[in-house]
Symmetry: C2
Subunit: 111 residues, 2 copies
């Protein structure tokens, strides 16, 4: 089940942004997170910029480590947004379960 939610005319929250947030939290890196999704660094960075611009405070903050390699953290606001998305997925799955069952019965041809 794929759920994409339109929050403003030009900001949608869907599985791509949610997975990216989750993987940034896990890996501490935008590049590593993007790589896991087979997404270019440019694309991952661009999605982070879009998310950060949509909220009054960033969802992902970048830092520069001593070695010059940047890290990234998901802020509490970012975690909150991610949690809302996962909650919406769970609620949607529960809400549509009966219709999916009925459709699968229709597809199987059984009464």
């Amino acid at each position: 089940m794929l759920l994409r939610v339109k929050l403003t005319d030009d900001f949608y929250l869907g599985p791509g942004k949610a997975d990216l947030l989750e993987l940034i939290a896990e890996t501490g890196s935008i590049g590593a997170a993007g790589k896991r999704m087979e997404m270019s660094y440019k694309r991952a960075w661009s999605l982070v910029q879009v998310m950060n611009a949509a909220f009054p405070a960033p969802l992902v903050e970048t830092t520069r480590g001593g070695s010059g390699q940047g890290g990234a953290v998901v802020t509490p606001l970012g975690q909150k947004v991610l949690t809302h998305y996962r909650t919406m997925q769970r609620k949607t799955e529960a809400a549509i379960a009966d219709d999916i069952t009925a459709l699968l019965v229709d597809m199987s041809g059984k009464k």
Copy 2:
């Protein structure tokens, strides 16, 4: 809100197929329905084939009129599938309304 439901490994039901069914029922023509969606006849026809193949009976039946121009009707099974999709959309909207409200508050920066 965009909802796409995976029913089998290679059959998804989403807004495109649902809107196409609805417009075929309305216009009585696959071509006219596709045109309203700015979709080529080939693409609309292909989506109908995919839908018909996924169920044990067709969701859309085509007929040839006296003038040689083909018409199309959505079968009772097709109407049932469309109704399930619209019902899932409504249920999803209701299920996620509180999370969307919370996200919009976060986006506005207000407490």
